[in-house]
């Protein structure tokens, strides 16, 4: 296949991914809406001794609390909608992956050389983070929200950031793209997952709700950040190493560097807040969301509004 043809195929795969994510979101939403309402019990339950048999069980992590649940019995198709959504999610994931691979083949370089490719890759990383977590423990309650984020992200990439396949400026022709940008994508994807959980945490009240329990949300967010913070640290340092090769200094307070640094400090603040008395829970979640805001601003705002060495976003 020629490069042009491959690029077209890649664009089609992106559209397919958007649609599949959208359907998947509907499935997850149906399960949430018609499944059981949850009280905020997981927090209390965690303190009760867990028997060995149940501890490894996926249900303990976030499924509906057993028995003693008042209210109407949910329709039997509700969990099936969830399973269908999961299948659609994996299909969307495959389409997203195919879009990235074909794009890479079309341009014959790492397919994250501009904002469009970068955002498509971040959506892929976020969905991957969600699906992989789902394999290990039941986090289906997050599905609808992760999928809507991925749909919006891809939509934004296609509508606003779209750049035709093509070569990049010489400064980007380096093996550091593979290291620095990949790390940034991975950690951004995980931060997106944490951000989604954080927003839900604030939206959800303390009482009975169809939304997942606060303890579950907080756990998912914390685990995602604990994983991605070192990766982000590495991404920033790899960026510094690259800057040392390309621009003649490892740290020069370029706008992108400043905001990567601010994001790093803000997530560090979250990790500290979580172990500070009086900051746990709500306050820490707000800190996390501020950090997430910094991440998004660095991703979108800095590339579009502020000129700097990183402004090769190719957005007109």
């Amino acid at each position: 296949m020629t490069a042009d043809r491959l690029a077209e195929v890649s664009d089609l795969f992106v559209v397919a991914a958007v649609l599949l994510y959208l359907f998947s979101m509907v499935g997850f939403a149906l399960e949430l809406a018609f499944g059981r309402a949850r009280s905020d019990v997981a927090a209390r339950r965690a303190k009760v001794p867990v028997t060995v048999g149940a501890a490894g069980d996926g249900e303990a992590a976030g499924g509906a609390p057993p028995a003693a649940q008042e209210g109407v019995e949910p329709p039997s198709w509700a969990p099936k909608a969830g399973v269908a959504a999961l299948v659609l999610g994996w299909l969307g994931w495959a389409a997203n992956l195919a879009a990235i691979v074909t794009r890479g083949l079309a341009v014959d370089r790492w397919p994250w050389g501009n904002m469009y490719e970068f955002v498509v890759a971040i959506c892929f990383a976020a969905v991957t983070a969600f699906l992989v977590t789902q394999v290990r423990q039941n986090v289906r309650f997050l599905g609808a929200f992760v999928m809507i984020t991925a749909t919006l992200g891809l939509g934004f990439a296609v509508k606003v950031l779209y750049t035709a396949a093509g070569p990049v400026v010489p400064a980007l022709n380096s093996y550091w793209v593979a290291i620095h940008v990949t790390a940034a994508i991975l950690s951004s994807g995980l931060f997106v997952l944490a951000g989604v959980a954080g927003i839900l945490y604030l939206v959800r009240g303390d009482g009975l709700s169809r939304l997942p329990s606060r303890a579950d949300l907080e756990r998912v967010a914390h685990r995602a950040i604990v994983l991605s913070f070192p990766v982000w640290t590495f991404a920033v340092i790899a960026g510094a190493l690259w800057a040392d090769k390309a621009w003649g200094r490892y740290w020069g307070w370029d706008p992108k560097e400043i905001w990567a640094f601010i994001t790093w400090v803000a997530y560090a603040a979250y990790l500290h807040a979580r172990v500070t008395a009086g900051w746990r829970g709500r306050a820490a979640t707000i800190v996390q969301l501020i950090a997430f805001g910094c991440l998004l601003f660095n991703l979108v705002g800095v590339n579009i509004f502020i000129s700097g060495l990183h402004s090769y976003a190719d957005v007109n």
């Binding site: 501890a55 070569p167 913070f229 200094r249 307070w253 640094f261 803000a266």
Partner: protein
């Protein structure tokens, strides 16, 4: 401590703390986690203006422009050091406080940690079933055997009468402390770099050379401890420059690659060698790095004055006006021209094409049809000999510019000149000849002795933060009852990792029950 001080401490003091008390209070507050958090926020917040206001170290030209366009605002910015955020007093205050707070937190924790390292795991609690993880073992187990099996899982083990205590995951705190220490190290490395390092920029035209002395730089930013003699004595000549561009498609004209071919002398006496300088591939000479930052065109001109003498001859570096097509603006000044000085405002078009309205534009950044448009030719005093600093990219300072007499301007602008063509000025005032095209490169030359330490500490920080976040501290106790019954209980001291520990606890129970026969 003096006796008097001891007495002071014993006697109740209702009114105030006293100086020592205040100092202690200040130290406690500074080193508390809440203060550290607030300082972290301030640190992040203080960096924000650095991305919104142009910085002297990064974009000095933008700062200068702001001073010109909006002097009042610029002065206020300057008063608050907003043009130098990252070297400002208030920014330094924040990070020094933060790092002091960090030291105040890390020191006592290190002491505690060292004590903990030598201490044995705490004795088993009476009732293991109260622990978050608990199981009854249906195995015949002795204290020694349980201890051996836990040791095999790399637990630190202590035994007592009918119980085993085990603990693991000390690396978590090691990582935590090491991470904070490496941040301190990183700060020191950056400090060393800014004191003993320097960087400078220089523009070199094809055929010209550069020797690494302070005087040869267009802009030189030395650290406080850098002396002019300490510069590495290398030199090089720019033999050739080559750039390639995308020819087809949407991205037509985009740079694909460019290289500068240098002839380098590592030292005055060293033999010359060839080096291909590229983006991402700096030239390193004994710790001093030379980077290729940018490139552009330097058309070559010859100016003949009214008396027939050559008043100027040579390449003129042009400023890029439009990056995608490398349309560039240049200024040629011939202050030696007689009877009066001559000056030209020019536009260089690397690939000149006529437009339908009769004007010309560059269609491609490569040098396919190089032509020079004469926008204006002037005579008069350009102020070159006034002693005032002059820009080579500007014909004359604005006040003198008004007094110049235009020879060619506006509607009388002729067709662009191709290489080898010339323009005769009206009234026999002289002649401008476009004789050829050269290219220029801009280089950044930097020496930073803090680079390697910074890299080491940054690497250490990444590894140790991963250790500190991924490893969990956990304790397991086994109580051996009478008649072949045993109980095991465990807990993790790390918040939020209970779910992960459950799996490991299951494994431990498995190993304690069945032994580790499977492993052997």
């Amino acid at each position: 401590m003096a006796v008097k001080e001891l007495e002071k401490e014993r006697t109740p003091q209702p009114a105030g703390f006293g100086a020592l008390g205040w100092a202690r209070w200040f130290w406690r507050t500074l080193t508390s986690m809440k203060t550290a958090l607030i300082l972290l926020f301030l640190f992040a917040l203080a960096s924000v203006p650095g991305s919104l206001v142009p910085q002297r170290g990064v974009e000095p030209d933008k700062v200068a422009r702001l001073f010109q366009d909006n002097p009042t605002l610029a002065e206020w910015y300057d008063r608050f050091q907003l043009f130098d955020v990252f070297t400002s007093v208030w920014f330094a205050a924040i990070y020094l406080l933060l790092f002091t707070s960090l030291i105040g937190c890390v020191l006592p924790r290190t002491a505690t940690y060292l004590r903990e390292l030598r201490r044995r795991p705490p004795a088993a609690p009476r009732n293991l079933s109260r622990l978050p993880h608990h199981a009854a073992l249906a195995a015949d187990l002795t204290v020694e055997e349980a201890a051996r099996r836990l040791r095999a899982r790399r637990f630190r083990v202590d035994t007592g009468d009918g119980w085993v205590a085990a603990e693991k995951g000390y690396l978590r705190e090691t990582g935590n402390l090491l991470f904070h220490v490496s941040l301190l190290g990183l700060l020191v490395a950056v400090g060393i770099g800014s004191l003993f390092g320097y960087r400078g920029n220089v523009l070199v035209v094809e055929g010209d050379g550069f020797a690494n002395t302070v005087a040869n730089y267009d802009r030189f930013i030395p650290g406080r401890e850098v002396s002019a003699e300490s510069l590495e004595p290398f030199s090089f000549e720019l033999k050739d420059f080559k750039a390639t561009y995308q020819v087809q498609g949407d991205k037509r004209g985009q740079e694909l690659d460019y290289s500068a071919y240098l002839r380098v002398n590592d030292a005055p006496t060293a033999p010359a060698r060839d080096y291909e300088l590229k983006v991402n591939e700096p030239l390193e000479i004994d710790g001093t790095q030379t980077y290729l930052i940018g490139h552009g065109y330097a058309p070559v001109f010859k100016v003949t004055d009214g008396q027939g003498q050559v008043a100027f001859e040579g390449p003129v570096p042009c400023l890029i006006e439009h990056k995608p097509t490398l349309t560039s603006g240049c200024v040629v000044k011939a202050p030696d021209a007689r009877p009066s000085q001559l000056g030209f405002l020019l536009r260089f078009l690397p690939t000149s094409v006529p437009l339908t309205d009769g004007t010309y534009a560059s269609a491609f950044p490569g040098e396919l049809q190089p032509e020079v448009q004469v926008l204006g030719a002037f005579t008069g005093d350009f102020g070159v000999r006034s002693g005032r600093p002059q820009s080579v990219y500007e014909l004359a300072p604005p006040d003198l510019m008004k007094k110049l007499k235009p020879l060619v301007m506006g509607t009388s602008v002729p067709k662009p000149l191709a290489v080898g063509k010339s323009l005769d000025l009206p009234g026999g005032a002289g002649k401008l000849e476009f004789t050829g095209v050269k290219e220029w490169i801009t280089l950044q030359i930097a020496y930073d002795p803090g680079r390697l330490p910074a890299l080491i500490f940054a690497g250490l920080a990444t590894v140790s933060i991963a250790l500190s976040l991924m490893i969990r501290r956990r304790r397991v106790w086994v109580r051996i009852g009478d008649g072949g019954t045993a109980e095991v209980g465990g807990l993790t001291r790390t918040e939020g990792s209970a779910a992960g520990f459950a799996e490991e606890f299951d494994d431990i129970v498995q190993v304690l029950t069945a032994g580790d026969r499977d492993d052997r």
